[in-house]
Assembly symmetry: C2
Homo-oligomer: 197 residues x 2
């Protein structure tokens, strides 16, 4: 029943660390706080990781790769351009719920942390994400499905940005439960706008 009992300490450290960053911010990401959360001392953490920074690298890689894969999954489904783009959003939302909003928060924290290593990882992820999605958007523009006056690369960032906006609202309102209550409503707003036809 209790799956957590089965997890290795290493795994528990990663999960507890991510949870602290997401819910309380980088400032609370300390060896002592992580240890407290999983019932070991701060020193014990160094039996599993060489430094706190190496925990962060592991956290970033793990969560970011989940997000990267969601674009590839949508492409692999071989849908129409419009449906592929909608599917990207659906996949994003599902990763978001699964990781409790971790990806955008991690991006936001570490893009400003001043740590070069963290930034490089995030930046190369964002770059590859943007180029993949831009290509789909450009194809959509050629097909006449996507408005020709929108910038593909800016709009690609709008996809993640919209997700982040929802995490922002979720955090600011101290909500519980799903971050995006109505995914199709959000997708519809992105695709068709808020203006009535």
């Amino acid at each position: 029943m209790i799956v957590e009992e089965e997890l290795s300490t290493r795994e528990k450290i990663i999960l507890a660390g991510a949870q602290i960053i997401v819910e309380e911010g980088l400032r609370k990401f300390t060896a002592k706080n992580i240890g407290n959360k999983i019932g070991i001392t701060d020193a014990a953490i160094y039996k599993h990781f060489s430094s706190l920074d190496s925990i962060i690298v592991e956290i970033i890689n793990r969560y970011i790769s989940k997000c990267s894969q969601s674009v590839d999954r949508a492409i692999a489904m071989n849908l129409s351009t419009e449906e592929t783009l909608k599917q990207v959003m659906r996949e994003h939302i599902s990763v978001l719920e699964e990781t409790k909003g971790a990806v955008p928060i991690l991006c936001f924290e570490f893009s400003r942390s001043g740590n070069k290593k963290f930034f490089e990882i995030l930046h190369s992820f964002v770059d590859s994400y943007k180029s993949k999605l831009s290509k789909i958007l450009e194809k959509g523009q050629q097909e006449g499905v996507i408005r020709k006056d929108v910038n593909p690369s800016e709009t690609a960032m709008l996809f993640v940005g919209l997700i982040q906006a929802k995490v922002f609202a979720y955090v600011m309102e101290r909500r519980t439960g799903p971050i995006i209550a109505n995914p199709e409503e959000l997708i519809s707003e992105l695709f068709y706008g808020i203006i009535a036809r």
Copy 2:
């Protein structure tokens, strides 16, 4: 020529503190870092503020109020519902550029900081913002200008959220210059969607 020379130390502390939080995160918000930035020692800061927390309260109040006012300014212009909403976005964007993205970053940082006082201030701001904008959106729905199937309160949060998303992209791409290069494009995407008609 150099206006900064005219600023009081108190003012310099607030500006330097906000800059540190925005560019480097809460972890770097220390008395020493603030002092270094304006050329005084950490101890001197306590001649102007009773604690670091009181600096944060000042920063939040100052930046948040700028954002609050932008909705009121848009309403005061007595435009059509659609134009009022667009004007809100324009005002937001202008505050955003003026404050270099501070508002959404401050909101995000302090809604997760665990500090009750900070959260109260932010929460009451977000609440009042949301109710003001919701009312306009509901009016728009009655007039048939705004889609009836969008949630006014969720969509209100989308207005600030979208802005935050742009700050995210700005930070992640290490851009300089304006955060939103093409405000009308963003406004158009929010209002009319990315799908061609």
